[in-house]
Structures are given as C-alpha cells and as structure tokens.
C-alpha cells in the first residue's frame, strides 16, 4: 500500500432507491490534502458525500471505500465517525429539545471513546465559539432549531473544530452564506487543516476556493469523475462553465488519478 493514503475510492457504484447515481468513482486523498469536487447539479456530488458517510438510504453496489487502509463500506454511520470521518451537512436538521452543548459533549466523548471532563469541554467549546464569532447563548439553544442559514453552517464548522476528524467532507458548506459568513467559515476550515488532516470539499461554485485553497479539483458528472486537475481548473470552470468538460469527456474514457 502506498504511503500516506487516507482515503481511496475504487470504482464506486451506488444506488438510491434502486436508481444508480454513482457509476464508477475513483479518487485518492492523502494526508493533509484538500480536494474539491465540483460539478453541475444532479451530478452525484451530494450522493458521494452521503455514501462515504454511510447514509442508509444509499446502497453501494460495487467498488470499495478504503479509509485508513480498511474497507468501510459495510460499517455503520457511527463507526465511520469514530474512525475519523466527518460530514458537514448541506442542510443540517433541527433536533428540538436537545441542547447544543449536551450534543457536542456526547459526540466528543463518542469519537474519543472516553469521558471528556466538563471543564476541558467547556474551555474547548468556548474557545471555538469565539473563533467562529458565535454568540454565547448558543450553548443553551437546541440543535439547529431556529438557527439562521449562517448559524447552521457555523455550527457545522464548530463541530468540525471540536471533533477533529481525519477527513472532513464539506457538502456545499458555502451555499447560502453571505461574504462575511463565508470568510469566518473558511477561516474555521483553514484552522482545522493540518498536514495530517484532509478535506473533501464539495461545491457548486468556485467562490469558496478563493479562501480554502485546494490541492486538486475534480469534476463530477453523470456519477463519474470526468476531469481532474490542480487549482487552476477552478478558474477555467468559472469562466467557461461545465459544458466544455462534459463535451470533452464524451469521447474520452473516465479520468483517473
């Protein structure tokens, strides 16, 4: 096995309710790398993030998801999380009556597999609230209940900061954010990034890539990665749109890394 490979997706096929969405995705992410996945609506971007996290609605029909050298495609959602996988949701759900602080402490204890002293948790929590410019009153609020769009996204990044996973999948974290919120959220993502921690950033727009610099960009279309390149690819997509890549790929074989 190659050194430093965190995630290797091999020929991944997945269905949702019997309908094939992913049709042979290949992707390799090494320690500390930031990969962006771009693509038109309906290309399978969100499906890919849900499949990686293990959403029960999606069925893997072929291929492998190797995470830290182990095929995780049969593992439950919580087992994947405890192995160091994290998904920042595009549309985080409200869970009425469950205080944010209680949820976050439970999560932290779950991923660490041990008790987290309340004092340590509080300090850590407070520090991250400040960094993300989140009001203190957050502590007593219920998970995503009555949160604005921006608050929901900050809450996702707050969880990322606390849980410190090895791989963060960010599913359209930039959508619906104004420029100030985008900046704060991007800074949070950048702080999280170290040479050991990697990011898979799923986005429709090039905008966030100005703040979170990717090492690689992949274009997902029709359930396959049809083009991969460096960060310069983003600018090209921004100016030309997706059509030229789609046309180019029609004749070509699926891109591989």
């Amino acid at each position: 096995m190659e050194e430093n490979i965190l995630l290797r997706i091999e020929d991944l096929h997945a269905n949702v309710e019997g309908k094939p969405i992913l049709k042979g995705v290949n992707l390799t992410i090494r320690d500390g790398e930031v990969h962006a996945i771009m693509g038109p609506n309906g290309s399978g971007k969100s499906t890919l993030s849900n499949v990686l996290m293990g959403h029960p609605k999606y069925a893997v029909t072929q291929g492998k998801i190797l995470f830290k050298g182990e095929d995780i495609s049969e593992l439950s959602v919580d087992e994947r999380a405890r192995k160091g996988l994290f998904l920042a949701f595009q549309y985080p759900l409200a869970i009425p009556g469950v205080p944010v602080s209680k949820f976050l402490r439970m999560s932290l204890q779950a991923v660490r597999g041990k008790e987290v002293p309340i004092i340590e948790f509080r300090n850590n929590f407070k520090k991250n609230l400040e960094l993300l410019g989140i009001n203190d009153s957050f502590t007593g609020r219920y998970i995503n209940e009555g949160f604005s769009g921006g608050e929901k996204k900050r809450h996702e990044i707050l969880q990322l900061a606390l849980l410190e996973p090895s791989l963060a999948i960010l599913d359209e974290t930039d959508s619906g954010l104004d420029i100030d919120a985008l900046k704060v959220v991007s800074e949070g993502i950048t702080r999280y990034r170290t040479e050991k921690r990697s990011i898979l950033l799923i986005t429709h727009y090039q905008r966030i890539l100005n703040y979170v610099q990717p090492d690689y960009i992949h274009v997902l279309a029709g359930g396959r990665v049809i083009k991969s390149g460096g960060k310069e690819l983003a600018a090209e997509l921004e100016s030309k749109g997706y059509d030229w890549v789609l046309k180019e790929s029609e004749a070509a074989t699926p891109a591989k890394i």
Partner: protein, 469 residues
C-alpha cells in the same frame, strides 16, 4: 437505519415485591357490601362516610363498563379477582422507625426517606390500602397548612371534608369514580390557608405490593384565597403475571387567586390497570396546573380536567405518555371554560415503541357566556417504529363567539435523517434515539423539580436501552 427490534420492557427496576409482609387484614377477592362495612368499621369511620360508600357501591354496580377507549383490554380485567382492601398496619406512623420493617425497606429502596430529607416539605407514603407513614414540616403546621392522610382528615376535619368530598367529582360521574367512592382508602388531604405559599413540594408515594391488588386512594386539595401549593405523586408496583387495579379519585379546589400545581410521575408495572379520575375547579384569577407523566401501567385511562369557574382563571395540562410493548396510554385532558376571560393550555406529548399504543383524548368546552377566553391544544406524537400506534380524539364544543381557540396535532416518526445526523457525530444508534426522545419530552421535563427531571431522563434512558439490536 436498521429497525429497532421488539424487546420486552425488562428494565423496570421497581418490579420487586416483599415476601415477608404480615398484613393486619387482607380481604378475600371481590367487592361486597359486607367488605365495605368491615373496612369502614376497621377505619372507625363516621356513619356519614359509610353512607356515602354504600350509595356509591350501588351506583358502581348499576353503571355499565365504558364502551369507548380500549374496550378489549378493559374486558380482560377480572374485577372479581382483585383484593379490594389490604391493611398493612394499624395506624399511620410519624417516624420511619415505627413503620414495619419490610415496608420501610421498600420505601428505602424507592428512595423516599432520602428525598424527604433532601427536598420535600411533607410526605405521605401509602402501602397497599393505607398510609403507613406521614410527615409535614413543623413550620407549615404552624402556618395552618393541613397535610394528612385522607382517612385521618375524615376524622379530624369532617367539616372541610364534608364540604368538598365528591363535590368536584360526583359519585355518579363515571363507573370508576363510583368504585373509588365505595371502596376508597388512603390518599392525601391538603388545605392551604389564605395567603400562604407552600414553597417546597409536598409528596405522596403510592406502592402496591400484593398480587391482584386494588388500590383506591382518594385525594382532596383545597387552596384558600391567594395561597399556593405544589403536590407531587409517584407510584410503582411489583411485576406480576396477573393484573392489579389502581383507581384513584383526585379533587382539587383552587379558590380565588390561589394556585395548585399537581405533578404525577406514574410508573406502575405493566400489569396494573390505571383508571383514574382527576378534576379541578378553578375560581377567579386562580390557576391549576396538571403536570402528568405516564410511563408505566398496562392500560391508563386518565384525563385531568380543569373547570374554569371565575374570571381570569387559568388551567394547564402538560403531559407525556410513553407506551412500550403491551401498553396502552389512553390519556388526555379536559378544559371547561365556564367564566369569561379564562385561559387554558394543553400540551400533550406521547411516545410509542415496540407496538405500544398512545391515545390523546381531550375535551375543550367553552360555555355560553365565557367570552374572551383563550384556549390552546397541542398534541405531539412520536412513533419509534412501524408496529406502534398513536391516535387523537379531540372534542371541541365552542358555544361562544368571542373566543380564541387554537388546536394543533402532529405525528412524527424518528426520522432517518435525524438519526443519520446524530450518528455521523459518532453517537450509537440507541444513544441517538434516546437523545431525540429526551429532546421531545424536554418541554415536560423542564417543568419538574430538578431531582425528578434527572430521574425521569434516566427512566426514559432505561426504556430506550435494549430496544435496539
């Protein structure tokens, strides 16, 4: 998400029973006039109470069984297979030391003496048919607060008892109210004098020990003008394979400007039929709050009611019901607006799991002349699996135009998406599920004193454990 598996409710930690109890008297199974005369004599009751009982027995025998609710489960209860009166002691003790050893041990295990020391102003502990222990803090007695077992109240305060007993819930109100009136024993009596606030809760604890036991406590609470009290009751029983019956009557009278909060955490074992009538009359600017939690029992039929009799009166029912395998919680609330400018709120939350069934059955009535009243009813049901069931039976009778009435009912299933979200943060399936359930009942839990809130959350946690394979 993998489906929660059907598992029996095996986590009921109060299901133990005492073997070595020697009762002073235990009636044969079945209910007769002779038994009622005998128990009245043992209690050395005044003649007027015996007369009430005998009349009630006739009413009970003449009334048919309800033809609504869970008729099937009701028909399975064999009323001839019940011990209607079990007397564990000669008198109510004021010191735990004097309570018979086995009985005391039970209450120790239930944590009652400890709770009393820590955060209660008075305690009534009932074992089978009788109150075995009773206490009230001296400062409350000095302020004129009366807190007694109901039997003692009949003897010591006959004038107050005669004035209110059976006035809120008449004997003929329903079959089980008549049964209770005929064979009642134990329960609490509280009178709070004018402008007196009892700041610390008073508590009653009801324990059934025998198999095929019938417990029929009777409670009457009167708050005089401008006073207030918080009363809490809890109940448990051993788990037996055959049925027991608990049928209480609770009458509350909130005189003008007073407030009663009545909190129940019902956790009977799953062989107990819990058929209870609870009603309050609430006068001008007074408030009555029923905080009603139903976790245990086989079948509960209970609809706490508030009659809003005077201008500015306020009634509230906040309830949760949990039904697991083999359980049916048929619970709800009744609000009757008799006077203008009255307010009522009903918030009912129910959880069904493992084929359990919850029903919300409610009445909202606005009588002619009750102008400018406000009423809101909200029922939320949470289903944890496909096998479980929840129904609502709301009745509205609005006979006045100038009123504001709101009604909302929701039924939801624990969603895959919510579970996915929580589990993606590393929480195991049953932890995620109990977090959602605890969140769901949070509006109820936050109204409980802290000690009870902690206990209830822990109870619900136990109910959730083992439910998922």
């Amino acid at each position: 998400m993998s489906k929660p598996q059907l598992a029996p409710k095996e986590d009921y930690k109060y299901g133990f029973h005492d073997e070595d109890i020697i009762n002073v008297f235990k009636s044969e199974k079945g209910l007769t006039r002779r038994l009622i005369e005998a128990m009245s004599a043992m209690k050395k009751e005044p003649e007027w109470m015996l007369k009430i009982r005998i009349k009630a027995l006739e009413v009970y025998q003449s009334k048919p069984m309800p033809t609504w609710g869970n008729v099937q489960l009701l028909s399975e209860l064999d009323f001839n297979n019940i011990h209607y009166y079990v007397r564990p002691n000669e008198k109510t003790e004021k010191d735990w030391k004097d309570v018979p050893e086995g009985v005391k041990r039970t209450f120790d295990r239930l944590g009652i003496p400890e709770a009393e020391r820590k955060f209660l102003a008075g305690v009534t502990a009932q074992y089978e048919s009788e109150v075995v222990y009773h206490s009230i803090r001296e400062d409350l007695t000095k302020q004129g607060v009366i807190f007694l077992g109901m039997d003692d109240a009949v003897k010591q305060y006959p004038d107050i008892v005669k004035k209110y007993f059976g006035r809120v819930i008449p004997t003929a109100d329903n079959k089980f109210a008549a049964l209770n009136t005929a064979v009642w024993s134990g329960g609490s009596f509280i009178y709070v004098p004018k402008n007196t606030n009892v700041e610390i809760p008073l508590q009653a604890y009801f324990r059934i020990n025998s198999e095929n036991m019938g417990q029929f406590e009777r409670t009457l609470i009167i708050t005089d003008e401008g006073s207030s009290v918080h009363y809490i009751e809890g109940c448990t029983a051993p788990t037996y394979s055959s049925d027991s019956l608990h049928s209480a009557v609770v009458e509350l009278v909130a005189l003008p400007g007073s407030k009663i909060r009545y909190t129940t955490i019902q956790n009977w074992s799953n062989n107990v039929y819990n058929l209870v009538t609870k009603r309050a009359v609430c006068y001008a600017d007074a408030a009555v709050e029923w905080i009603d939690g139903n976790i245990g029992s086989k079948l509960t039929m209970k609809y706490p009611a508030v009659y809003l009799m005077g201008k500015g009166a306020r009634g509230e029912v906040l309830s949760i019901a949990y039904a697991g395998k083999g359980q049916h919680q048929d619970a709800g609330a009744k609000m009757v607006h008799v006077a203008p400018h009255t307010t009522s709120t009903i918030l009912s939350k129910s959880i069904s799991r493992d084929g359990g069934r919850t029903s919300y059955r409610g009445l909202l009535r606005v009588e002619k002349g009750a102008e400018h009243c406000k009423a809101s009813v909200r029922c939320d049901a949470l289903l944890l699996d496909e096998a479980s069931r929840s129904d609502t039976y709301p009745t509205m009778e609005i006979n006045e135009k100038n009123v504001a009435v709101g009604h909302e009912a929701t039924v939801s299933k624990i969603g895959d998406e919510q579970m996915f979200y929580l589990m993606s943060r590393g929480l195991k399936e049953n932890d995620a599920q109990s977090l959602i359930v605890n969140g769901f009942i949070e509006p109820f839990v936050r109204e409980l004193p802290m000690e009870y809130a902690v206990e209830l959350n822990r109870l619900m946690q136990l109910e959730m454990e083992g439910s998922i394979g």
